[in-house]
């Protein structure tokens, strides 16, 4: 198993796609930073226009914490899309290059082969989130400095700088679980579809549908609470004024069950497949 993991890690490290993914994340961050630098004040003015009629503001809200929050919002679509494209390649490339047959000719168990793919996909996802967090922290705080964070979730919530940093760190951690979910799903899709381009389309579709279903009211409390599209925004819970840690913990635990479910399904399908 260890050698399988090492081999997968080597493949991931050697393929240029991995570095393209990291570069893409960096480009998204830089674009957000440039937009915020030139238009951030105007956007905040628009947001707080009503309040300006009644209040004087002392201090600035355009700061590193707000930038971090905006970048965190790329966890809705941009980052999972990049992750799904890269991680699905772990399987589709094997089919395309015919290396899957070579591996299966060795004394390698199919489930171990698939498990190593899922583990590496999860590790790669964590690496990307860590990279994103580190670069964002460095860029956002060095350019915009620290300050209070303003977030609109049903109410206009203000958080002191230290509290905001704390919440952002936990949001990255919680967001990482959602990203692992997407990566695992993309591998399962790759096992079913096998072709790279088709898998990317299916992954993008899955992402869009999941985002759309997030808003749908299914009429049943259990489905509304624990159906997977309802769990992918768990990181947003960190920006409610009162954090419901229990809800965050339970939601992430349920999301882990979904991750395990998709991984088992992918492994089962691969096990049943004839490798020709």
């Amino acid at each position: 198993m260890r050698s399988l993991l090492f081999a997968e890690l080597l493949k991931l490290g050697k393929q240029s796609k991995t570095y393209y993914a990291l570069a893409a994340i960096l480009v998204i961050e830089i674009l957000i930073l440039i937009t915020a630098y030139y238009e951030g004040s105007a956007i905040l003015d628009l947001l707080l226009n009503n309040l300006r009629q009644s209040f004087y503001f002392e201090g600035t809200l355009l700061n590193g914490n707000l930038i971090m929050y905006i970048i965190l919002n790329s966890l809705w679509f941009n980052v999972p899309l990049i992750l799904m494209i890269i991680t699905s390649g772990l399987v589709t490339d094997e089919y395309k290059d015919g290396t899957v047959q070579t591996v299966m000719l060795q004394a390698v168990k199919k489930w171990k082969f698939m498990l190593s793919k899922y583990i590496i996909a999860a590790l790669f996802t964590l690496l990307v989130i860590a990279f994103m967090m580190l670069t964002t922290f460095t860029l956002a705080y060095s350019i915009f400095g620290k300050g209070d964070l303003i977030v609109y979730i049903n109410t206009l919530n203000f958080f002191k700088s230290a509290d905001a940093i704390h919440r952002i760190c936990w949001a990255f951690a919680s967001g990482a679980v959602a990203m692992i979910f997407y990566s695992v799903v993309s591998i399962t899709l790759a096992v079913i579809i096998k072709e790279a381009a088709k898998t990317w389309i299916a992954a993008a579709l899955f992402l869009i549908i999941t985002n759309l279903l997030l808003k749908v009211d299914f009429g049943m409390p259990a489905i509304n609470a624990y159906f997977f599209p309802k769990l992918i925004d768990n990181w947003q819970q960190l920006f409610y004024y009162q954090i419901d840690w229990l809800k965050i913990g339970v939601n992430n635990a349920v999301l882990f069950l979904y991750i395990a479910g998709f991984a088992v399904a992918g492994t089962y399908i691969f096990h049943k497949q004839d490798i020709t």
Binding site: L47, S54, E58, G59, L61, V151, Y152, L156, L214, Q236
Partner: protein
């Protein structure tokens, strides 16, 4: 006879006009005027249903005939109206007062007067003051402005001799937020019925004031 009655009315009105400003208010003004400047630390708690903000701290600087200045290392939101607990705004322009009698509030018997500015330049339309005549200070006020609606002030003092309040509660009307849709998080729910029913809300800011450094004339 009618001529005498007319003369009496004209002279009577003029004499009454000369005494239009309440004597107790003038005493309070005199006391307030003795403060030429002060600085203090303020702890602010904002209470608006659609704004959640932690307790903030700020420093306030006041100099007579100048705008009160606030500074803070945090981001703070201060209401444009309701922070004038020195009441300088009232005394800025000529006014008359109308005695409304005595009223008991929080176990204290307070003198109630209406302050009506006589100068069109004043931003104030009508002010109701609740005065503690024994301690010679204003305890409550309701201020109706020409442009910025109505706000109320409730002041508490740590000791009988204090001239400036140690606790101020300012109540004000605030328009509800109009957040553009693209600023809303994906989890944000929009309740249109509730949004329509909440055009204007009232808010409150509670200020605890410590470490006064007062300079008297």
């Amino acid at each position: 006879m009618i001529r005498y009655l007319f003369l009496f009315l004209v002279l009577g009105t003029q004499i009454a006009n000369a005494q239009k400003v309440d004597a107790d208010l003038l005493h309070i003004k005199q006391r307030m005027d003795s403060v030429s400047q002060f600085t203090a630390d303020i702890t602010l708690d904002l209470e608006v249903s659609f704004i959640k903000m932690p307790t903030k701290t700020a420093k306030v600087r006041y100099a007579k005939d100048k705008k009160m200045l606030f500074s803070s290392s945090d981001f703070v939101m201060l209401p444009k109206r309701g922070l004038d607990f020195s009441m300088s705004e009232i005394f800025k322009h000529p006014f008359i007062t109308v005695d409304r009698g005595m009223e008991k509030r929080n176990g204290k018997l307070l003198k109630v007067i209406n302050v009506i500015p006589t100068d069109n330049q004043s931003d104030l339309a009508l002010v109701t003051l609740y005065m503690d005549t024994k301690a010679r200070r204003i305890v409550e006020s309701e201020v109706n402005t020409r442009k910025d609606g109505t706000y109320t002030l409730l002041m508490q003092y740590a000791s009988f001799n204090n001239i400036l309040p140690d606790y101020v509660e300012a109540g004000f009307a605030i328009e509800k937020l109009k957040i553009p849709l693209n600023f809303m998080g994906k989890g944000t729910k929009i309740d249109r019925k509730q949004m329509r029913s909440e055009e204007t809300k009232t808010g409150k800011i509670k200020m605890k004031i410590d470490n006064y450094v007062i300079k008297y004339k």
